[in-house]
């Protein structure tokens, strides 16, 4: 029993798109929720955001990071099956009329969430603003994968200015806030940016709801791996999140916890890459 890969496309120098048959998830998924997938028998459980869920299929953006994601890129092709995909997990975001809604994204997970979130927000009558940030031209996605069709206002930034505006979503957001154009911010991607984002919006009292990425195992609240300090209390990012109030998260701790297995992951990645080289795959 597996779940068939129905589409796979390269998005950029580091990210790719993958669509998997998962009718059990597709019919109940809502924006804000994620899935957990396992490539094969020896694989680990990794959380992934959902770009879309439709016609019994789930679309995801994946960054070639370590063993799991490299494996998915190099060894799994259209027609192959992955071992497991579970979901939807976590709490959906609250879709209602807020006024001007921003979605800010600077890494895969949030690029996926941007489209789904803003689509729902637009349907709920909001004015929608998308900001997609990338490091440089090579990392930028083809435009059809971005939130342009559902955004009333749309920005791309790159750090080196090679595409769109030079800078980061934080820069654009600052301008928008100064123009009094922001009622609520949704964001995701790099935890370091989210920490800065929390500090940016806090003085203005702008509600800021972001993906709290933490290392997960089950994704259902069973293991406590994803625990974070939230308003002084322990919460589980998978069960109580993953999108949570950025102003209540202890970001320094969250950032540290997300690097827990860096040594092991590096080792595993090296062994895996050596294997690929041996086989002549890379």
């Amino acid at each position: 029993m597996g779940y068939k890969i129905t589409k796979k496309e390269n998005l950029s120098a580091i990210d790719f798109f993958m669509e998997v048959e998962a009718p059990h998830i597709a019919k109940s998924w809502k924006p804000g929720q994620f899935v957990v997938l396992i490539p094969d028998e020896k694989g680990e459980r990794v959380p992934m955001s959902v770009y879309y869920a439709k016609d019994g299929k789930i679309g995801m953006f994946i960054r070639r990071h370590g063993v799991t994601t490299l494996k998915l890129w190099h060894e799994f092709h259209v027609g192959d099956e992955i071992l497991s995909i579970t979901g939807p997990l976590g709490k959906p975001i609250e879709v209602k009329h807020y006024g001007n809604v921003v979605f800010a994204a600077d890494a895969v997970c949030a690029q996926a969430e941007a489209y789904a979130t803003l689509k729902a927000m637009k349907e709920a009558g909001n004015y929608t603003i998308a900001i997609h940030s990338f490091e440089n031209k090579a990392n930028t996605y083809p435009e059809e994968y971005l939130a342009k069709p559902v955004a009333d206002e749309f920005y791309i930034t790159t750090e080196d200015g090679s595409v769109g505006r030079k800078g980061h979503y934080l820069d654009i957001l600052k301008e928008l806030i100064e123009q009094d154009k922001v009622d609520i911010v949704f964001a995701g991607g790099k935890l370091g940016s989210l920490k800065k984002l929390a500090e940016l919006t806090r003085p203005y009292g702008i509600p800021t709801i972001v993906t709290v990425r933490q290392i997960m195992v089950d994704g259902t609240g069973m293991c406590g791996s994803c625990r974070v300090l939230y308003d002084g209390e322990i919460k589980f990012a998978c069960r109580d999140g993953p999108m949570m109030d950025a102003h209540k998260i202890d970001w320094d701790d969250a950032i540290k916890r997300n690097a827990r297995f860096a040594e092991q992951e590096k080792l595993a990645r090296e062994i895996y890459l050596a294997k690929l080289r041996e086989k002549g795959v890379i």
Binding site: V67, V217, G221, M222, C223, I234
Partner: protein, 478 residues
């Protein structure tokens, strides 16, 4: 009555030597062979009434199966088949309960032989019957006897969770002729048996066999399905005649003390899941990582704590179990405590953690404890109350595992608002194990908080009967 045959000592079961077993996850106890099992069975006095039956939460006919075993000593196959038939009447997972039940508190506690010497080794006999039957194809034959020919005709039942409660309920209903579908959140069935209890106590092949048995009975298992998220309880009720909830107590309790977010502080669930379910002990052959240092402190004193401690030991760490009460209040099975001690796990009592201390990289490096003192007064569970002494001690540790208990998850109860829960998160059920929603039954840790495998199975079985009655009554013309 104490005739010449009264043998005070148990026939021992061989164990893998300590030096060998601490290097791997192979099963520690090797169990009986037929000759030694019969020898042990011959010690049984065949009491009537038999207190062992009363001591067993599901009232297995213990003297009955023991008698069957020794009566046919010339034909092992026949003997085991008869014994297994008797056990299966009350317990369909004897290979598991024979290994994990706290027999010393249950059937073996009141055993009459225990007054004269050592109680009959009921657990190991049960395990022997199950293992022998599996190895020799006896189980398969017997399964046919128990299988209903009318599979699916009596109705359709959904079972949520594939721990011992769910597995038992599903098996019983399938035997009665229901079409049963199990919905399991994880990618492997078994509940705590697969993600919590390590291989050195319960080899995975044994669990695999139990699951295969269910499939032979026609039970369908839908993995990766979370009821309350992937499908709702309401949707299940539309499609099925009844639902059984066996979702266990899978949410770890945490210590809300400074330093809880430091690296290498694990809950027992995370630690054991990484190791058992995801095989992190085989990293990097398997992708799941785990990070364990040289000195581990495990906090708690139940089976979970022992399992975590012995797993950490096998991963090459020195291990100390720190418990806030005394030795006599430890809740783990005696055999696990014994094995842990033999293997070199150290124990510290009357220490209550108050702070985790980290190094400059955010990794834990020590645990600060308050020393506790026992009082004469006892709490509701009969344990001596403890108070802080105001004295503190700091123990070095670069890995900490918290094993202080679990509570039920709220995935279903949060979504299905009609489902009533108690303040501790357990589901409210009536004497037939029916929840506040008609047609929805529940059992195991989901209604008891943390309990045991055999109690979960007992609930599964009881609920199966109640579900059968409920569905049949519904079918009757008004």
């Amino acid at each position: 009555m104490a005739g010449p045959k009264l043998i005070k000592e148990r026939v021992p079961t061989p164990e893998v030597p300590v030096e060998e077993r601490i290097k791997s996850f192979v099963e520690v106890n090797l169990g009986y062979d037929f000759v030694s099992a019969v020898k042990e069975a011959e010690r049984c006095l065949q009491c009537n009434p038999a207190p062992c039956i009363q001591g067993c939460p599901v009232h297995i006919n213990i003297p009955g199966f023991i008698k069957a075993l020794r009566e046919n000593a010339e034909s092992p196959e026949e003997a085991v088949k008869n014994a297994l038939r008797i056990i299966w009447d009350d317990n369909t997972l004897p290979a598991i309960t024979g290994r994990v039940c706290p027999q010393e508190e249950q059937c073996e506690a009141p055993c009459v032989m225990g007054k004269a010497g050592e109680p009959i080794n009921i657990g190991k006999l049960e395990r022997f019957v199950a293992d022998y039957a599996r190895k020799h194809g006896i189980e398969k034959e017997l399964l046919k006897e128990f299988t209903s020919t009318e599979n699916g005709v009596k109705g359709k039942v959904a079972v949520v969770g594939s721990g011992p409660a769910g597995l038992t309920c599903a098996g019983e209903l399938a035997k009665m002729g229901y079409k049963v579908t199990i919905f399991e959140a994880l990618h492997k069935p078994g509940g705590v048996l697969v993600y919590g209890i390590p291989e050195f106590r319960l080899p995975k092949e044994i669990l695999d066999r139990e699951i295969a048995k269910l499939k032979e009975l026609g039970v369908e298992i839908k993995l990766d399905h979370i009821v309350g998220k992937t499908v709702t309880l309401e949707e299940l009720l539309e499609e099925y005649d009844a639902v059984f909830i066996g979702t266990g107590a899978g949410t770890p309790k945490l210590l809300n003390i400074p330093g809880i977010l430091l690296d290498r502080i694990y809950t027992a669930n995370e630690f054991l899941t990484r190791i058992n379910l995801m095989k992190a002990y085989k990293f990097p052959e398997y992708d799941e990582p785990i990070s364990i240092g040289k000195k581990t402190i495990v906090i708690g004193a139940g089976n979970t704590a022992m399992d975590a401690a012995r797993s950490a030991l096998r991963m090459g760490s020195e291990v100390t179990i720190a418990y806030r009460r005394g030795r006599e209040d430890m809740t783990a099975r005696i055999e696990e405590i014994k094995h842990a001690e033999e293997e070199g796990v150290k124990f510290e009592f009357f220490l209550n953690p108050v702070e985790f201390i980290g190094d400059e990289n955010g990794k834990v490096k020590a645990v600060k404890f308050e020393k506790m003192r026992p009082l004469e007064e006892r709490d509701a569970k009969g344990k001596r109350k403890i108070v802080g002494t105001g004295e503190y001690i700091t123990l070095e540790a670069d890995t900490v595992i918290i094993a202080i208990g679990l509570e039920p998850n709220k995935i279903i109860s949060e979504e299905a608002t009609g489902l009533k829960t108690n303040p501790d998160g357990t589901l409210v059920v009536d004497e037939n194990l029916m929840t506040s929603i008609p047609g929805v039954f529940a059992g195991g840790d989901a209604i008891r908080g943390e309990a045991t495998v055999i109690l979960a199975m007992g609930d599964g079985k009881k609920a199966a009967k109640a579900i059968d009655e409920y569905i049949q009554k519904k079918r009757l013309p008004a």
